[in-house]
């Protein structure tokens, strides 16, 4: 009998969990993942999910990124019909993919297409971490390769925002080979004079950092993004080396000469627009005209 009383008492008592106390109502407010600053969600949306207190760049999804950069209604998506199959018959793989399709509303871990940024047409690829950690399997590789090829055929610049844990394990060596496929596509694109801009966002690692993410004419990163080839844990376990706190951050890479620039998310659109303008044919035409004028001027004199 006593036992019964105790059990009931236990069932009825809610012990406030430490985490629950710190939690903020879902949807209305959000706590910064770095400094724990609490902010209205609407406010956070306005500042592109960058914490106004510590400037921590929260991960954002592919379409939010596209909306934040491209001129309204200008983006046209490519190849969303490509679907993942299960080439190695890996247990539970397709279920996991289906779950992520439902969760994210995306067909795979990457959105490709073209649109205009400040009026300049550009091809673009944005990876989405929420979908299988942004990992690259056959579909991701194929979509990127096709996007780069289209950019080449249509003489468009190509911008890629990377966010990926690397190659997708469940497609084995097929995933590995996507590194080669995408890199060859980029080589063809660059050979024809195409402008390639890579922006590495948190996180960009493994097979993605070791292929297209590092192949831009300009390689950029968002502040604080984790970028590296091997995982921190793997390095610590295999080499027993002590790693600095900022190891494999964008700032670490910049210091070691691996990046052209770190770009704050608030500056991203402006920076990309400027770069695109500086590479656009219009600018080149103006330059050519000025040159011709100068030559003519010289002859006259």
């Amino acid at each position: 009998m006593f036992k019964k009383i105790f059990t009931r008492a236990k069932n009825n008592t809610t012990i406030p969990h430490k985490k629950a106390k710190e939690d903020v109502p879902e949807g209305l407010m959000k706590k910064c993942e770095q400094c724990s600053h609490i902010i209205y969600y609407k406010e956070l949306e306005k500042c592109l999910h960058v914490c106004p207190n510590c400037h921590y760049h929260h991960p954002i999804d592919a379409w939010y990124r596209i909306d934040s950069l491209f001129d309204e209604q200008s983006f046209e998506e490519w190849d969303q019909q490509l679907k993942t199959t299960n080439p190695l018959d890996f247990p539970d793989y397709l279920e996991k993919v289906e779950n992520d399709i439902e969760k994210t509303g995306l067909s795979e871990a990457v959105v490709t297409g073209k649109g205009t940024i400040d009026g300049i047409e550009t091809a673009c690829t944005v990876m989405d971490m929420r979908f299988r950690m942004g990992s690259m399997g056959s579909v991701v590789g194929e979509k990127i390769a096709r996007a780069v090829e289209r950019a080449r055929e249509q003489s468009l610049p190509y911008i890629i925002f990377t966010a990926s844990g690397g190659a997708r394990m469940q497609e084995g060596v097929l995933s590995l080979m996507q590194m080669a496929k995408t890199s060859i596509a980029i080589e063809r694109f660059c050979r024809d004079g195409g402008l390639m801009i890579s922006v590495m966002t948190h996180p960009t690692t493994g097979g993605v950092s070791a292929s297209f993410a590092s192949l831009g004419d300009y390689n950029f990163a968002e502040p604080g993004a984790l970028i590296g080839f091997a995982g921190r844990r793997v390095i610590e376990q295999t080499t027993r080396e002590k790693l600095p706190d900022d190891f494999q951050t964008a700032e670490f890479l910049l210091k070691h000469g691996q990046l052209d620039k770190i770009i704050h998310r608030h500056e991203m659109k402006k920076m990309l627009a400027t770069l695109l303008r500086l590479h656009s044919t219009e600018v080149q035409q103006i330059e050519e005209e000025t040159e011709q004028v100068a030559v003519r001027g010289g002859q006259d004199g």
Binding site: T84, P91, L176, A180, I184, T239, Q258
Partner: protein, 317 residues
């Protein structure tokens, strides 16, 4: 016998027995010829049985056999006039990769390959065949030189993967690999890649963007080691054996997935059993590949490479 693989134990057991009987018959006057003959026949059947039914995990073990021939073993036997060149001209010389020029059947070629050691001392010097960025930069420097002098390129792939370490990250391991993939894609000379041992992930692929890619029968090529896959997927590295089977990493798997062009057969039990015989099989494959690829113009070489990799991948549309 050194380095007995677990699945080979019954063979070794039988071999020991035969040797024992032979000693007995030599030392005493008992005639055991029939007995020995019977056992030798049994050994043949057993060997055939075991070696024709190798699982992926067995092949992983053969690919990792300490006595398995390395890049330099093959270079020495396939080519003449080999001259090794060192350094990436930026940072240092990475001995996990060897590179140089040589003569193959009268014509110059450039050869680049991962190099592991066969003992601990050599493995430390060669970092177990796991290159740092300077290794990849050395490799591509020589491949670009091959293009300049219009020499075909042969690469040998044999690595657990690129070095995972602090120094490697600081010097841009990702960039070094990525750069090689792109640069190899743009070379106008034929590239033939042969996986001779382990083809471990991006660190292997960085020498592997070939017009033709061949694999020795017992070599492996994978996105991650079976141990790594097991620990990521099932959080248990001891399930490596299971991972090896499900990841499709053998030459036969890659042929089926239309990734490689040819499986190069190995002597019974693996390349380490008979290096000379192995060299003959590689020689055959190289000769045929070169004959085919030499017919192509620079543009055709680039186009062939793109077509080859473009079709890799499985999806529905």
């Amino acid at each position: 016998m050194k380095h007995v693989l677990e699945f080979e134990r019954p063979i070794v057991h039988l071999k020991n027995k035969i040797a024992e009987l032979k000693t007995i018959s030599k030392d005493s006057d008992i005639d055991l010829t029939n007995e020995i003959k019977r056992l030798e026949e049994r050994l043949n059947v057993l060997e055939d049985d075991i070696y024709s039914n190798l699982t992926s995990w067995h092949r992983v073990q053969i690919a990792r056999h300490p006595g398995r021939p390395t890049t330099l073993d093959y270079i020495e036997r396939l080519f003449t006039d080999f001259i090794e060149f060192h350094g990436d001209r930026y940072y240092g010389d990475d001995e996990a990769i060897v590179a140089g020029i040589a003569s193959y059947k009268g014509s110059p070629i450039t050869v680049v390959g991962h190099q592991r050691g066969k003992n601990t001392k050599e493995n430390i010097r060669r970092n177990f065949g796991m290159p740092h960025p300077e290794g990849y930069r050395k490799a591509i420097r020589h491949m670009k030189q091959a293009e300049k002098f219009n020499r075909p390129i042969v690469t040998f792939i044999d690595t657990k993967g690129a070095e995972p370490g602090k120094a490697a990250e600081e010097r841009g391991q990702s960039e070094a690999i990525a750069y090689n993939l792109k640069a190899m894609a743009g070379l106008t000379v034929p590239i033939i890649s042969v996986v001779i041992g382990e083809g471990g992930s991006g660190g292997a692929l960085a020498l592997g963007v070939g017009n033709h890619v061949h694999m020795l029968e017992n070599s492996t090529y994978s996105v991650i080691s079976p141990e790594g896959a097991a620990s990521i997927l099932w959080k248990d590295a001891s399930l490596a054996k299971e991972a090896a089977e499900s990841m499709r990493i053998t030459a036969y798997d890659l042929e089926e997935l239309s990734i490689i062009d040819r499986i190069i057969v190995e002597p019974k039990g693996g390349a380490h059993r008979n290096v000379e015989e192995q060299v003959k099989h590689i020689d055959e494959a190289l000769t045929e590949s070169l004959a085919l690829l030499r017919k192509l113009s620079s543009e055709e070489i680039l186009a062939q490479r793109w077509e080859k990799y473009k079709q890799i991948g499985v999806y529905s549309e």
